[in-house]
Symmetry: C2
């Protein structure tokens, strides 16, 4: 019989070492979009698995970055596939007040000690927290309450390009799993736990107009800006092209068929949203995101409904010509925009790029090149009534009397790859703790206790509780 309290006690004893492990992991950059330190981070992670006692540890090679793999057989009935990611976004955005890879621990009111670093929240913090919790279970002299198959990919921020390859190669091993668990920190800045029962799908691509393809404008390089008088501009062209894709607010997508397959909110979604009506804390979100108002001036659950149920078309970045200081006059030969679509049930991710292509062709913009940066993956959803969802909820309620259940996160994770055949796994995503500012400067994870949210200690205990509750499903 697994003694959860003994494991909690061991975590309390080990917490300083655990913070050190996390800081070391953070100090090893693993920026997949820039190919910075990724394999070294994988190797470090594999050694951590070895140290804890995982067997069959390896870097499972793919055509891209390896998946860090290991098995911890506890002779238990249930087997958890712990899926996570060891790669992060770049930290090139302005506004960082610390070196994003230094592993700086900073007192921040009202949270106490926080780790301010790229990947602290998304997702090296929760990942290492999870491994720490297993380490303490083992050190407490017990077998874990479930068998654990660990698989952390190094390409989540590249759209999990080669995860299907890994799943195919390890199908036999992964089929032993009863449920997928993604360790995460689900508290908000006021301490409320927000459990998300799903994720949106995503496809990410670049749109580009190059004078060479267009047959108009400069074809080889940017030319003197005075030539605009008699030479076409790929920049103006792209502005006209993009402006056909959304309405004047930028919030309604005008691509034919974009909303056709939207089948949310479902009846169950509506039930969840009704419950959120009284508890959803709009101001907390605005404060955290530094946003003053939501689209169309929506408030409360009306705004939340957009977050949960609306597909989106976003320009993540755009660039052309001279972007340095001062005044260089230039007629650029090329312009590029990084665009993503987020999909909700029952949209099909494979429809995304063809829909954009048809839109461009219909309006007479065949020269716009679509460069797929990732194939993308589908949305995924779990029912609030599923036994594993209830197990997760029960663990959260052990630590907090303030738990909200949201139908989905607006963000994306490749749960659908595990949830669909051949594996068909139910999934759980959660844990105590607060991590914020993913993809933004000064991303952080709360480490210390005593503030409105749990720190690393509470997070690790919650992971132990989740594994324990899984064993009882």
């Amino acid at each position: 019989m697994f003694d959860k309290r003994a494991a909690y006690g061991q975590v309390e004893h080990d917490i300083d070492e655990h913070i050190d492990s996390l800081v070391s992991f953070i100090r090893q950059p693993s920026v997949s979009p820039q190919d910075l330190g990724v394999r070294d981070a994988a190797e470090l992670l594999r050694k951590t698995l070895d140290r804890i006692g995982f067997k069959s540890t390896r870097l499972a090679e793919t055509s891209g970055n390896p998946v860090v793999y290991g098995e911890l057989d506890a002779g238990a009935d249930k087997t958890v596939l712990a899926y996570s990611m060891y790669d992060t976004m770049p930290a090139d955005e302005p506004g960082w007040t610390v070196d994003p890879f230094a592993g700086t621990i900073k007192e921040v009111k009202p949270f106490g000690a926080t780790l301010v670093a790229r990947g602290a929240a998304n997702t090296k913090g929760p990942l290492m927290g999870f491994l720490n919790s297993l380490d303490s279970i083992v050190k407490s002299g017990q077998e874990p309450p479930v068998n654990v198959i660990f698989a952390a990919e190094g390409e989540e921020e590249l759209g999990s390009r080669h995860l299907p390859q890994f799943i195919k190669a390890y199908e036999k091993e992964l089929k032993k799993a009863d449920v997928l668990f993604f360790p995460f920190a689900n508290q908000n800045t006021r301490g409320k736990v927000v459990l998300d029962l799903g994720v949106k799908g995503i496809t990410y691509f670049e749109l580009e107009i190059d004078g060479k393809d267009w047959g108009r404008g400069p074809t080889e390089f940017g030319i003197h800006g005075s030539n605009k008088a008699w030479v076409d501009s790929p920049v103006w062209r792209m502005i006209k092209v993009l402006s056909t894709m959304v309405d004047n607010t930028g919030n309604q997508v005008l691509i034919d068929g974009f909303y056709d397959d939207v089948a949310v909110p479902s009846e169950e979604d509506k039930v969840l949203v009704r419950k959120l009506k009284d508890t959803f804390d709009e101001e907390e979100v605005k404060e955290t995101l530094k946003v003053e108002r939501f689209v169309n001036d929506l408030r409360g659950v009306d705004a939340l409904g957009k977050y949960l149920f609306s597909p989106s078309l976003n320009v993540n970045g755009i660039w052309a010509g001279y972007t340095g200081p001062g005044t260089k006059t230039l007629l650029p030969n090329k312009i590029t925009a990084k665009v993503d679509i987020r999909f909700v049930p029952n949209m099909k991710v494979e429809d995304g790029i063809p829909m954009v292509r048809r839109h461009l062709d219909k309006l007479g913009y065949p020269e716009v090149k679509i460069r797929t940066l990732e194939g993308g993956y589908s949305w995924a959803r779990m029912s609030a009534n599923h036994a594993y969802t209830k197990a997760l909820l029960s663990s959260m309620e052990e630590f907090s009397s303030n738990v909200e259940v949201w139908p989905t996160l607006a963000g994306s994770a490749p749960f659908s790859l595990f949830a669909s055949p051949p594996l068909g796994l139910p999934f759980m995503c959660g844990g105590m703790g607060l991590g914020e500012l993913a993809h933004s400067p000064n991303e952080y994870l709360v480490i210390g206790e005593g503030g409105p949210t749990g720190g690393l200690l509470t997070m690790e205990k919650s992971f132990i509780s989740i594994l324990d509750n899984i064993s009882r499903v």
Copy 2:
């Protein structure tokens, strides 16, 4: 009596030294938009004036970069104000095949030896060529045929911000001048001389939407891209804003009043264009600019008419969000575009930015910030029938039987600052030689002789001829 032939002979004797002087000048970067080496270049230039025998040489200080100033009194009747610029654009664009500041001399067919470097054409090459020509005149034991006041500014690429300050401070000295001369290389790649009798005006500014000013979108930093579902995008907003400014081709400006004051082509312009009908070499332009077709598929002098007589609105650069490799999902908090307007007679440059502001306000975009990067300056024109124009033409015809006269360049130079009161100077801009790819990678100036165009030697001789012809006006 000035002996032109003796001076030509001296240039032939000195040409190797002259090439060395130019290469040394090129190797000293003077990138005003990036504040790179500008003052060192000014100092180098002042020493060159001293070496030639200029008096009263100095760095005439302004609130920005200094004007390099000197006087060469020949006791002549006529005084030329030789105006030029010693600053250049940045060389940060991709595609350079040599170090842009190395002063690389490269054999290029069919031209022979060319200097491939930032500033080679625009305008350190012609500037040093002009000083070289004076050096040889002096070395030939003669006084120049005219007195020369030399003034080279270091902020032409910043819109000549402080040139009015210099003109005011040196009004007494500059009033001694009879005519302004801007040394330039006016041949095209086939060897034809194209004399431009004017320049367009320019104003250059940044348009910016920042969530903070807008009160919508992320206000402090870019946030996770999944938030697009419920948070406004400054990028979509800017795309909508910019798309209101031009028609679907990007070539007709839709800002109220933009074309109201356009008073070209004038009767004299029409006469010049009629002459160009048979000689304008469309293919040469397309080859040089690497452009396959002109706006609206115009051909021949119809296309040229756009170049000469059309004001333009150009996006020189635009940027927002993540512009690195791969896939960072981000909802940017800010987007910036670098925009310039080119003015033709009789548009008023001071109307430009207020016109844009009115357009934005009228359409309900008060949040768009206009950041003026330079006050700008007006167009300037000389008549084909002016005595100084005829003097210039006569010099060009001394070296080439193939001379075209264009009413204006589409590019801009601050001639209006000298042509308007209190100086009211006529101006001349020209010389033999070929310089191309200003503001583009692999900018070059032909150095060697024997190709379809003149090299540095012919350029320098043509400057001597121009000074000689000025003395006869």
